[in-house]
């Protein structure tokens, strides 16, 4: 363990990132992830270069094959002459704070492909399927000129939907044999996907899962109108499934543009980024004030709402004094 120091980011490093230099990208990713002082500066400098990549979220239960799916997709995207960055998130241990990040294991075939950049992230103090740096790393790869940025969430079940707020296109991965059609009727993750993938489609039952998803979708009107989420069957044995997934992603992005929905999504993403930045500010401000307010709450001399008001007021004051 070591202290994060006060550092200043040289302009040349930002230039190297925008030029696509892998080492510069990797170094800046570390600074962002470690929340060093320079993080705010990095994000500010990168922000002007962002906004071009197609950002895709891939979520689904553990063992559904999200990493293998992204490996297959990366090969297709690269063969089409495009570049993809994969932000692969695995859980941190609540006990030690450590993590085993194993998503690269499935991506060996792309390990030397210059069009593919894989960065593994530990979820650290988040428990919503993401990592604290996920959104900022998306910006980093976007600014570095990647055509696609794919966020692979922690294997997650039914209600970890935050990824949908960070991306243009949400891909939900399901597999055969993981429950009956009632699972698909449940609220939550099943409702937010723009594309459904039935992975391991070489296993028995894949067609039934696909049919069940289709009939479930038939029951739900789409809030944005018109977009019929496609269901793509994929298997590591058959590259055509990954071709279809890449096509479906492109169609969805074109749909968002054609329907003027891209702005809506961008607003939703911006709202989520703003909320995250506020949360972060609030966390930074915690300390002695919090302890004092907790004392007052325990002794019932204030209410939670009043304590929150005072906390925020002091936060603002601290910021203006800084």
């Amino acid at each position: 363990m070591f202290q994060t120091d006060l550092v200043s980011i040289p302009d040349s490093l930002i230039g190297q990132v925008v030029g696509g230099d892998q080492r510069a990208i990797a170094r800046l990713a570390t600074h962002i992830e470690n929340d060093s002082i320079s993080r705010d500066q990095i994000v500010a400098e990168l922000f002007a270069f962002g906004g071009r990549a197609h950002v895709v979220g891939v979520t689904g239960p553990p063992g559904a094959g999200k990493s293998s799916l992204l490996a297959g997709l990366a090969k297709v995207v690269s063969a089409r002459g495009q570049r993809i960055a994969i932000v692969a998130i695995d859980p941190s241990s609540p006990k030690s704070g450590g993590a085993t990040l194993g998503d690269r294991i499935r991506m060996s075939e792309s390990a030397l492909d210059p069009n593919v950049f894989v960065r593994s992230l530990a979820s650290r103090d988040r428990n919503d399927g993401l990592a604290p740096a996920a959104a900022d790393l998306t910006l980093l790869f976007d600014a570095a000129g990647y055509d696609y940025v794919a966020i692979e969430t922690v294997g997650s079940g039914q209600d970890q939907l935050e990824v949908a707020d960070l991306v243009h296109t949400t891909v939900l991965v399901q597999i055969p044999g993981a429950g009956d059609s009632v699972q698909l009727l449940k609220a939550g993750a099943m409702e937010i996907a723009d594309i459904y993938v039935v992975n391991k489609s070489d296993l028995p039952g894949a067609q039934r899962v696909s049919r069940d998803i289709r009939s479930m979708l038939g029951l739900v009107p789409d809030p944005d109108g018109i977009w019929q989420p496609p269901i793509v069957l994929t298997s590591v044995d058959d590259p055509t499934g990954f071709e279809k997934l890449a096509d479906a992603m492109e169609r969805h992005f074109a749909f968002l543009i054609a329907r003027d929905l891209l702005e809506d999504r961008k607003r939703r993403m911006a709202r989520s980024e703003l909320k995250r930045a506020v949360d972060r500010r609030v966390r930074i401000g915690s300390g002695s004030t919090i302890d004092e307010l907790i004392d007052q709450l325990v002794s019932r001399s204030t209410t939670p709402e009043r304590a929150a008001q005072r906390f925020l007021a002091e936060l603002v004051q601290d910021d203006t004094e800084r």
Partner: protein, 140 residues
């Protein structure tokens, strides 16, 4: 301020044609339990793949586990690939079945430490913790 302490990122790699991954997995688990973020790349990694993973993941440490006997062939190539990517500041350590006679040459390659069979996990973890480069600097 934000994080005053951040986890150390370590790449644990199995170079070459060597299917014996028990040691690598045990070490991955031990480092995880010691609070490290362990990137495990799986079996049959070429020197280029290991160096590329170290580059993209920006790890402070690379741990090489080898039981195939090919260390004198693979280690110099791995060190050369790391060097070619400007990763000279990465701490490289090795573990596995490495004969005593080969050690001086391996250490001369720039591999910082060799943890043979019987090394306690605490020894390896303490060594890495003490010798990992400071990743908070911006130098390039």
């Amino acid at each position: 301020m934000p994080n005053s302490e951040v986890p150390i990122r370590i790449l644990i790699a199995k170079p070459g044609l060597d299917g014996h991954d028990r040691g690598a997995k045990v070490m991955a688990r031990a480092f995880r339990d010691a609070g490290f973020e362990v990137i495990y790349t799986g079996l049959f990694q070429t020197p280029e793949m290991i160096a590329n993973a170290a580059l993209q993941e920006d790890v402070g440490v690379v741990g090489l586990s080898i039981l195939s006997g090919a260390h004198m062939t693979l280690f110099p190539r791995i060190m050369a690939e790391l060097h070619a990517r400007g990763l000279d500041d990465v701490l490289v350590v090795a573990g596995g079945t490495i004969p005593e006679a080969d050690r001086p040459e391996i250490l001369a390659m720039g591999i910082a430490a060799i943890f043979g069979p019987g090394t306690s996990m605490a020894t390896a973890i303490d060594y890495v913790r003490t010798h990992v480069p400071d990743r908070s600097r911006v130098d390039s």
